[in-house]
């Protein structure tokens, strides 16, 4: 009886591990889409409404969903309170985003480039940079969507099957 409970616990543990790994793959497209929306909102705020940057970022953070909202809020706070440069603020915000979400460093590259263009504040250049970044993110999102489901299912299978094989070998 105890053996059966132990075996089920082992399978459950490995399955949950597998599901955890799968979740990262599944969440990435969704978070990329949220990032695109946030970036578009930021573009609207900065270009068409000319709001100052910290306020614009705060507004974007209001409308966005976590984890992107947290990043924008953090960047906004850094700009307003600490008076850090735009590039540094974004860099630290992105570092936190990569650590806390399913996004990778390469996904956040377009945002870093927008940050760098924001600091030079060249209007026309800014517009093209926003467009480039949004396009890059959309491409990444499409790729993530195609790969993500496949990888997620793979990790779920691996988790369950590894647990079952361990139980069978150790039973």
């Amino acid at each position: 009886m105890l053996k059966l409970v132990g075996a089920m616990l082992l399978v459950l543990a490995t399955s949950l591990l597998g599901f955890q790994m799968a979740r990262a793959h599944r969440d990435r497209p969704r978070q990329l889409r949220s990032l695109i929306r946030a970036l578009t909102h930021l573009q609207a705020e900065v270009e068409y409404q000319s709001t100052p940057l910290p306020t614009a970022l705060a507004n974007v953070a209001e409308r966005a969903s976590p984890p992107c909202s947290l990043m924008f809020r953090r960047v906004s706070d850094l700009l307003m309170e600490k008076g850090a440069s735009v590039q540094e603020a974004f860099r630290s915000g992105i570092a936190e985003l990569v650590a806390d979400s399913a996004l990778k460093g390469a996904d956040c590259e377009p945002i870093q480039m927008v940050a760098e263009t924001l600091s030079t504040m060249d209007r026309a250049h800014l517009q093209t940079q926003f467009q480039l970044s949004i396009d890059a993110l959309m491409q990444a999102e499409q790729q993530a969507r195609e790969q993500g489901l496949k990888n997620a299912r793979l990790w779920q299978y691996m988790g369950v099957l590894t647990g079952v094989i361990l139980v069978i070998l150790l039973y």
Partner: protein, 67 residues
Amino acid sequence: MSPEIRDVFRIFAVGFIAAILHTVLKQSGKEDFAHWATLAGFIAVFAIVIGYVDHLYQEITSVFLLQ
């Protein structure tokens, strides 16, 4: 259930799951990992079988007086 039958079923189960894992990994594009996984399962099963071969060897040498 005698331990021998349990080992037969164990090898069967490990082999079946290894085949499933192989297919799943190959469909997700990680073919080399699939081969490693199958090889690992094969080695695990082989370890079980080798134990039995050793037992058989002891038995035969003792019964048939093969020094």
